[in-house]
Amino acid sequence: MFSFTKENLQRIEAEKKKYPTVESAVMPVLWIAQEQNGNWLSEAAIKATADVLDLSPAHVIGVASFYTMYNKQPVGKYHLQVCSNISCSLLGAKKLIHHLENKLAITHGETTQDGLYTFSEVECLGSCGTAPAMQINDDYHENLTIEKMDELLKGLEK
């Protein structure tokens, strides 16, 4: 079951006012739904989004499924998103990815059994000048090395 909290319903009303059509608020409302639902969009969260905007669930799924950042399955407490595009790869991103995969024993799109980490290989994060880079949930971590990555993970465990 999923229903928007009273506070989020108010936020949704505010989002609707920003656009000339209600349909246009679908992206911000999906963000709110994902946030309330523990960083992923369940079927119930999609349904609630559709209801609150008077859209069909099919339309909302059509939108949500297009974008990589709307998570269609549960993700760990820490979503490790490592860029593997050109500038990051020139500076060793692949090595970082192998290190991370070995360390956590998961590959792209998988979550550790304790539900702590999800690893995703992502496209260009716009950190080319501070490559290689990784995003942990919303935060950027740049100029990464294997040592720096290990330290970051250690900090998260605490």
Partner: protein, 434 residues
């Protein structure tokens, strides 16, 4: 020769806390807006035309001309500010959001005044949470000071600015996809015509400008078109943010005049190639722009004409530098994988073509390609270029076409018939893991 010597930074000047409105005002902030509202709408557009500003988002279209396409009259109209910044090798707009957000806000207001727009939407890529928050804080300040909102500067001009967060799709940087995304639709690019100035957001006249372009508009109104047009290359003037990444000692975003030599940017500004290595290749304007050999880099200047002369284009001025040890087959494979991932799937040549490009470039990476595969790659490119609704197919095909022709030997060495000759180590595949 155009160089950094004596250049005065205006987009990202070295002034601390410029994101705070009081600091920004102290350094000439919102003077451009005041100037703009003292002029007629047409005069503002003419000033931008006269400046010679060309869009900084990739296509390089003359901004003033674009603004003049907006129809006259009372029709509701919109501005969409494109901060999707998804082109690999491009990381400049986030610098504006972080270090000079008010310059962008001011440029947006000037554009809205000139075109009679009451609402501007700022589309920012979903990953940029930090920069969305910084911009929102600056926007709140600007609202509080009466620069945004109702009756701006007491001139009876009203404009709201709304930030819209993307959610991870490269295609949304394409202007018509961006509009569908804003409308809450599945963001497939639209067929043109009609062009956005006629039928844009929610069916109304719309202009789409890049973040850096709008920041430049604020500079033009503050300093004047005459001052602006004297900076950099004559036919492609103004300040530009060069984003230099890859194998250089000092990667980063550097502001300079257009028309600088690519060599100066790589060797002086960015401190040269890492570990004293030699240069192998440079992508000059984001991943879609054709790659350059070292001989071309010697001659290239960073402006439309200078880059056309060496068979490439300015794009987003995101310069990706690759040293002599770079495996260009692997590099191309990364880019082909990217375009395949990001194709929206609407047009068959792109949906299928990007997949085949990735697969066949992958054969070169694995060392199982043949001469036939080489020819097939060129054929696929020809069947993609210019045959789709938007330019993503072209953006995917150009790097393939140009990398395999300009660095032909490297691809030939990976063909099955040459593998013993080249003595190439196939265990590389496991290491690269692509």
């Amino acid at each position: 020769m155009i160089s950094l010597a004596g250049y005065e930074k205006v987009i990202l000047p070295d002034i601390p806390n410029l994101n705070q409105i009081a600091v920004y005002e102290k350094h000439g902030g919102y003077e451009g807006l005041k100037k703009a509202v003292s002029l007629s709408q047409d005069d503002v557009i003419n000033e931008v035309k006269k400046s010679g500003l060309r869009g900084r988002g990739g296509a390089g279209f003359p901004t003033g001309l674009k603004w003049s396409f907006m129809p006259k009259g009372d029709k509701v109209r919109y501005l969409a500010c494109n901060g999707d910044e998804g082109e690999p090798g491009t990381f400049k707009d986030r610098q504006i959001f972080e270090f000079n957000p008010h310059l962008f806000i001011e440029g947006t207001l000037i554009a809205c005044y000139a075109m009679g727009i009451k609402t501007a939407y700022v589309y920012i890529r979903g990953e940029y949470v930090k920069w969305i928050n910084i911009l929102q804080a600056s926007l709140d300040e600007a609202y509080a000071k009466g620069y945004v909102g109702q009756n701006i500067l007491g001139k009876g001009f009203n404009t709201d600015i709304v930030i819209h967060r993307g959610a991870g799709a490269y295609i949304c940087g394409e202007e018509s996809s961006l509009m569908n995304s804003l409308e809450g639709k599945r963001p497939y690019p639209r067929i043109k015509p009609p062009f956005p100035a006629q039928v844009g957001l929610w069916g109304q006249p719309t202009t789409i400008n890049n973040i850096e372009t709008l920041a430049n508009a604020a500079v033009i109104l503050r300093k004047g078109a005459d001052w602006y047009s004297k900076i950099g290359a004559e036919k492609h003037p103004g300040p530009v943010l060069y984003g230099i990444s890859g194998h250089v000692n000092k990667p980063g975003v550097y502001e300079g005049p257009t028309g600088m030599s690519l060599k100066e940017l790589i060797y002086d500004v960015a401190g040269g190639i890492k570990n004293g290595k030699k240069l192998k290749a440079v992508i000059p304007g984001g991943s879609s722009t054709p790659i350059l050999t070292p001989e071309s880099v010697e001659k290239a200047t960073m402006d439309a004409d200078g880059l056309r002369a060496v068979g490439t284009s300015m794009g987003t001025a995101g310069i990706i530098v690759m040293d002599e040890d770079t495996d260009l087959v692997e590099a191309l494979h990364i880019l082909s994988k990217f375009y395949h991932h990001e194709s929206c799937g609407q047009c068959t040549p792109c949906r299928e073509g990007t997949g085949w490009l990735e697969k066949i470039v992958g054969k070169f990476a694995a060392g199982t390609a043949t001469q036939q595969d080489y020819d097939l790659l060129l054929k696929i490119c020809a069947n993609m270029e210019g045959r789709t609704v938007c330019a993503l197919a072209d953006a995917a095909a150009w790097p393939v076409r140009n990398t395999i022709t300009r660095f032909k030997e490297e691809f030939e060495a990976r063909m099955i018939e040459n593998k013993n000759k080249a003595g190439w180590d196939y265990s590389m595949k496991a290491v690269s893991g692509v």
